[in-house]
Amino acid sequence: MIDRQTVSRLEEIVGAANVSVAQSDRITHSYDATKEQFLPDVVVYAENTEQVRNIARLADSQKIPILPRGAGSGFTGGTLPVHGGIVLVLTRMNAIREIDSDNLIAVVEPGVITADLQREVEKQGLFYPPDPASKEFSTLGGNVAECAGGPRCVKYGVTKDFVLGLEVVTASGELIHTGGQTLKNVVGYDLTKLFVGSEGTLGIVTEITLKLVPKPEAKKTMLVQFETIEGAAGAVSEIIRSRIVPTTLEFLDATTIDCIRDISPIPLPPACRALLIIEVDGDPLLLEKQAQQILSVVQPMGVVDVRIAETPEESEEIWQVRRNVSPSLRKINPDKFNEDIVVPRSKVPDMIRALEKIAARYQVPIVNFGHAGDGNIHVNVMVDLRQEGMAATVEEVMAKIFTTAVGLKGSLSGEHGIGTSKARFLGMELNAATIGYLRGIKKAFDPHNILNPGKIFFEADTQPASVIEYEHEQET
């Protein structure tokens, strides 16, 4: 619990209107997209870096947790105040400070909404590619904290590939700068990469310098239906092997297709057991050629139907098929466990087959779709937690899924992060020595453990009672 004096100090720093201990405010800042809830002690809205520094100094001296928060749309509990403390809302630090078309960079505050930046740079013929599904509401600060991805990452890369520099407030309230405005920079350790994806556990990002690229002139969208998932995966390999890198290569598996068949704007016959949405971008003349080339290499893979969008409306119709997925999942069961494992591209069919076996063995529907181009599969275990013993079953299913992904030389998470929801599985992928290094880094940056405590590293007291920490299987 935070004392009255500390609240007064916070009020001095950001103004009384931006500090609240009201129960309603604590409730509305207690959750994220995991649906878990933990009440913070106090909610603070910051408007500038100086305020953030003063808040950090205060929190560090009193050993009060700080939870930096953007849109609160994360899937792994990154903004949950599991140990209470200060929820530090950065949504109002939302200025785009600079768009530099000579050097192709943008300088932004962390509260800028991803799609708002994209619209602004596109007005100048520039492009910021990372496109998480939440881009219309998630903030760039949150994207940096989780290293967000998205469909376009096949061609362009993820958030970390676009962050050139950061201004960061440390746990003790110091201001540090990493990287800069240049593409090349080898002075000192690469702290930029360390902060990107650190889930708010190492520092509070208050300014971000992003790399931009020229906006592609045009794009072409295709939808290809396949008889089997092997066919679709084979098609992905063939496309990459033919030296074409599409902007996006999204796949839907048979369980997903069954969910949306009734509402799909494009007919999906029963023979269609997997589908790919392929988009290429660039020079319009080249696109036509690439589209034809893609069609010819995927043709031998058991194609049921092909559709190439000729107009923006037709392209929109194809994407509508993909957008129909999430809302349709609830038809199966009310509770969704949404994971984002990643495996090497060529292992996607193996992973899907393994998932089918897990679904059959545990009698739970598992719906899979996602980014085939980079092996990032969104695995959705759909259950009804009101059924007795279901929570324990889900726990087992999750463990099986993660073990399989890691066994295929993949990873627990491609773009959602670890947070609290996957902390107990960390040992499956990283050995004890590696985790020890991560802990050492955390300790060096944040000796009093005030920055987003309880994330990434497993803590039994902030997890549901039934869960156990998983050991690394090949520990030596």
């Binding site: 509305t28 609160g72 749309s73 109002r92 509401f137 998630s138």
Partner: protein, 434 residues
């Protein structure tokens, strides 16, 4: 404190749902945060408590006793325009506006109506009062509210100090009911159409109502404009005046039917949301009225008016006109029909504007209770409007017209906010006199 109105409930009457009736809906919120991108109140304040997800979390806590009706909660629940943009984009279609309205009613039951709520329920409940007020000169003027019977015991007062800067349309001396007959007979083979005009058209923009009746007559329909129709109830819903909503719903359902109308037309998006949607969601809902409600643009498009307009010779002088999507049409998927009419009009050069679908900021009584926020939301329309180069901004809701014109006046633009029906009447009447 007791609710203001107190009367026995008749059996089978449509009544408002209680907050607990939304328990299942509230559970459906998966806290994804999508609503943040679409909520006009949140876009302004960027406070989680103001967005749908936050309000639904508060509703859940109210139900399980985790929070009481405290000041901050009331502020959060107040920051909602009931526009429905969140529902439209919500993966599980959680009905946040209905949940917010239910919480506002709980607040009312607990503390009594706010001053705004009192004014609204008294004024909108009484046709005589509406008439008296508009005759007096200014709908929102504190002077005219003196006309409100003192016997009600209410001290009725709009918080004018917050609205000093509001520019309002000049009010007409004769309202719609004094301009069109209650019933006009049309062609024998055409059905009778009911016209639900709503307060804004009846008292502020009767010319729009006149245009509607003229156009329907031109198409051969018999038109019934019942004198007994009252406010749709949206302002009362917005201010938590639950009893007033129930009374208005009951009244309006009874007001139609005399001529066996199979179609009830609205030309006000808010009324469409009220009589067309809200009545149908009430407890023991009587859907006889709701089932027949159709927006004028959809009706006219369906009955060949777009083709009729296309066949006309384009006028040599055509002002550039853009379109504003009223939330209560957009969120029911009605975006194409109004545009189809505008594109086909011979007297108009139609252009799209950026931000056409952004809320105007009016939101029932929101603009009265939160004038500054309302103005700031309205101001977001201006850059897109300015860039479009339009001389007129057409829309399909008189409430939006009041608000858009206020935003335009404050921005100093030379743009006129008009109803599509005014442009349509101009084209059709000119063609008819040729």
């Amino acid at each position: 404190m007791r609710p203001i109105h107190n009367r026995p409930l008749s059996l089978n009457m449509s009544t408002n749902k209680k907050l607990k009736d939304f328990e299942e809906q509230i559970r459906q919120c998966v806290k994804c945060g999508v609503c943040q991108a679409h909520c006009p109140a949140y876009r302004l304040s960027r406070r989680e408590g103001d967005v749908a997800r936050g309000k639904v979390a508060l509703a859940a806590s109210l139900l399980d006793g985790g929070v009481k009706l405290e000041e901050r909660l009331e502020q959060n629940i107040g920051m909602c325009l009931l526009c429905g943009s969140c529902v439209n984009k919500c993966p599980n279609k959680v009905a946040t506006p209905e949940i917010v309205a239910a919480i506002r009613r709980e607040i009312t039951d607990n503390k009594g109506l706010s001053l705004i709520g009192k004014s609204v329920s008294t004024v909108t409940g009484s046709r005589a009062l509406m008439q008296a007020i508009t005759k007096g000169g200014a709908l929102f003027s504190p002077l005219v509210l003196k006309e409100v019977p003192k016997s009600s015991g209410l001290r009725l007062r709009f918080p004018m100090k917050r609205m000093e800067a509001r520019t309002l349309p000049k009010l007409p001396l004769r309202n719609l009911f004094e301009r069109v007959p209650e019933f006009t007979r049309g062609d024998k083979d055409k059905p009778v159409v009911g016209f639900f005009a709503g307060c804004s058209i009846t008292y502020v923009y009767p010319v729009v109502g006149v245009a509607m009746v003229k156009i329907l007559r031109l198409l051969g329909y018999s038109v019934h404009v019942p004198r007994k129709q009252k406010c749709c109830g949206v302002p009362a819903l917005s201010s938590g005046a639950g009893t007033a909503v129930e009374e208005l719903a009951e009244n309006n359902i009874k007001a139609f039917g005399k001529y066996d109308e199979s179609i009830i037309i609205t030309a006000c998006a808010s009324c469409y949301g009220g009589i067309g949607e809200y009545y149908a969601t009430m407890e023991h809902a009587d859907k006889t009225l709701s089932d027949k409600v159709i927006d004028f643009s959809v009706f006219l498009e369906k009955h060949g008016v777009v083709d009729m307009l296309r066949a006309m010779k384009p006028w040599p002088e055509r002002p550039r006109v853009t379109y504003h999507d009223p939330c209560h049409l957009k969120n029911h998927g009605i975006t194409a029909a109004p545009r189809a009419l505008l594109k086909a009009l011979p007297n108009v050069d139609f252009v799209e504007m950026e931000g056409a679908s952004l809320c105007c900021g009016l939101g029932g009584t929101f603009s009265v209770s939160h004038y500054d926020a309302s103005r700031a939301i309205g101001a977001e329309k201006i850059p897109g409007l300015r860039d479009s180069g339009a001389r007129k901004i057409a829309t399909a809701c008189p409430g939006c017209i009041i608000q858009l014109q206020d935003s335009i006046n404050h921005a100093g633009l030379e743009v006129e906010a008009v109803h599509i029906l005014e442009l349509l009447e101009e084209a059709l009447m000119a063609a008819n006199t040729e």
